[in-house]
Symmetry: C2
Subunit: 256 residues, 2 copies
């Protein structure tokens, strides 16, 4: 009996010790979450205020929030947010517009973080926590390896098939045209009417003004701009405006 | 010895059982979180797309997301988001504007979910999950018990002290004037230049158009509108626009 009891005691104690060890790890984890909560709140409020354009013109993501931005931009939440935006775009273009069939019904898309994802580049360059190095960024663009954003790829073709003429307006420079076209085609985009890139004259212009100028050019040519899809407020603001603008998420960088 | 061992065994077993019980509760919780993740993503993407105005014109919060909205609107995250917006407003008005000192430098505030919080009402009415009952909502407004949003209260006075004239433009009806004034004063707001409410003529007008009309009136009177703070995009859109608009969070309702 004594032996049996002793054995049971040892096993029971070992089990207790193991469960308690897990329990302690767990408590530590909870406690860390407790400590981390206010930083998480802080960084999430930074991200949220960037998205609604209360925070503008930052040149780098605050160092303490780089981890938060990385986590978001590589999360299922980022995908869910983009998907939901695509669904709303679909809802709009399915019922919005009486197309005249004169080839003047237009739709505009941004490129980076809209048609293509530059996350693979930012993944190697601090997720917005490092100031953008144009030379290295443009070298990466020239590789033409940016993946498509799946939900935008899908609506791009649906919008085109509905009879809208598609215009791509990007702040990428004119020198990047062939790399950009290669990349777009490689991942499945085709059939746009015009790819508008920044000419030498436009390079010193604020992107917001450049975007307005390009839209003005379309309006002057008789186009009706039914929608814009982009990740930057500078693609929507100013006149002439589109009937609807759809904002895709991006907390890695801001273009004024 | 046998008694001692038996006692130790009993205590040890009781302890083990108790820890295991907690452990099981915890595992259930984790598992629930796992199952809940995609609903959480879904509702968060709904909320996010409402905030950036991709989703418009909903009359009720989707039933499956009412819990998520309630959680957010009563969370430290909602407070952090509002606080961060207030900090950005402060940053802007501290350096933005060369005031002429002619009494024509204006700033506009919304009322609900901007100066005052209607969360106590929505807390009793499904956090946006029930269609708004104007009669019961207006009866609640007449109680004049809406609390201030602390961060807005602070910047309200700072903006006023800087020499801006403050205009409150609300879609509350003219009949609610005295209850609104009572409520505002009770929680610490005073010194605004004009409280603009919806007259009988304006009640059938779309709120967005009504808001534009009120801004046009100010511009016609010679005011320069430096900023608007509101929780609805319909308070910012259309012409004339303010130099800057600041969006406060609100996922309980949408005003077109």
């Amino acid at each position: 009996m004594d032996n049996f009891v002793a054995l049971f005691l040892i096993i029971s104690s070992l089990f207790t010790t193991s469960v308690i060890a897990d329990w302690n790890i767990l408590k530590q984890r909870w406690s860390r979450n407790g400590v981390g909560d206010s930083l998480k709140n802080y960084c999430e409020s930074w991200r949220m205020n960037v998205e609604v354009s209360n925070i503008r013109g930052f040149s780098v993501v605050p160092q303490e929030c780089v981890g938060h931005v990385k986590k978001y931009m590589t999360s299922t939440q980022y995908k869910a947010d983009s998907k939901r935006a695509a669904e709303e775009i679909k809802l709009y273009f399915s019922g919005c517009c009486t197309l005249k069939g004169d080839g003047k019904d237009a739709w505009i898309f941004d490129i980076d973080e809209t048609l293509l994802s530059t996350i693979p580049y930012y993944n190697k360059h601090g997720f917005g926590g490092e100031k953008l190095n144009s030379t290295s960024f443009e070298a990466w663009i020239k590789e033409s390896t940016a993946p498509a954003l799946d939900h935008t790829l899908e609506i791009f073709h649906e919008i085109k098939n509905r009879g809208f003429k598609i215009f791509l307006i990007s702040s990428r420079r004119e020198t990047l045209r062939s790399a950009t076209v290669d990349n777009l085609i490689k991942v499945g985009y085709h059939g746009w009417s015009n790819l508008m890139l920044r000419a030498l004259d436009d390079e010193l212009m604020e992107v917001k003004k450049y975007q307005s100028k390009m839209r003005q050019r379309l309006v002057d040519e008789g186009y009706r701009i039914w929608g814009i899809v982009g990740d930057q407020w500078s693609s929507f603001e100013g006149l002439p405006s589109a009937k609807r603008a759809f904002k895709l998420p991006n907390s890695m960088y801001h273009i004024a």
